[in-house]
């Protein structure tokens, strides 16, 4: 069975600072994908960044980057130069290749403070 654990229910960061959200996971598969989704108050699920397990290079999308440690089964999200619009719930998710659904962590509520 796959599991995803986010150990930080809530976090806060000052505007323009950097924050890291933690995620660990467990799977017996060798080929899988990891995702971070953002859910602002509008409740829309927005893809932030994704990582293929077979790629060693950490994914980067503008101010968002991940630290993927496959052996440790860790997939943390770093947000640089935090902006007020980054305030949201952030979900870490895992899926195997093929017709498989996402398995989500319980989420981390991030507040960016002016």
């Amino acid at each position: 069975a796959q599991t995803v654990t986010q150990s930080q229910p809530e976090m806060s960061v000052q505007e323009a600072e950097t924050v890291t959200l933690s995620c660990t996971y467990d799977t017996s598969e060798n080929n899988y994908y990891l995702f971070w989704y953002k859910q602002p108050p509008s409740r829309q699920m927005i893809l932030v960044i994704r990582q293929e397990a077979y790629k060693q290079q950490n994914a980067t999308e503008n101010r968002f980057s991940v630290n993927f440690q496959k052996a440790a089964k860790s997939f943390s999200l770093k947000i640089s130069d935090s902006q007020l619009g980054d305030t949201a719930m952030y979900f870490c998710a895992l899926r195997n290749s093929g017709n498989t659904p996402l398995v989500f962590g319980k989420g981390t509520r991030l507040s960016v403070i002016a």
Partner: protein
């Protein structure tokens, strides 16, 4: 253009009623999903369809019946609604053999059972 759309966005109804939620995707994806987000924000897969065929049914009560008339649509019908069905329901789609296998989510339907 809306990629994954759901109707209605809000649904308030009485216990015991039957209701439906519709989902459409214009991304040409072959797989569609229904997720439930409970009051604690936890997201969990309910159903998955690939090319109109049910491939995943995650121990959901049989009061919930998904229907896929074609691969662009996946509707969710709920009979005899109960208080515990109150949640946000998300539709999502993905392309199994796509370059990213990323799931794209609809805006969600907030269901409140009174």
């Amino acid at each position: 253009d809306t990629a994954v759309s759901q109707t209605p966005k809000y649904l308030v109804t009485q216990m015991g009623n039957d209701k439906s939620i519709k989902c459409e995707q214009n991304l040409g994806h072959d797989t569609m999903y229904w997720y439930k987000q409970d009051s604690k924000k936890f997201l969990k897969i309910m159903f998955s369809y690939n090319n109109k065929e049910l491939i995943i049914n995650e121990t959901v009560p049989n009061r919930f019946s998904p229907k896929s008339p074609d691969k662009a649509h996946l509707n969710l019908h709920i009979n005899s609604l109960e208080l515990g069905d109150s949640a946000v329901y998300f539709c999502a789609s993905s392309q199994v053999t796509g370059p990213q296998e990323t799931q794209y989510f609809g805006p969600g339907t907030r269901l409140l059972v009174l």
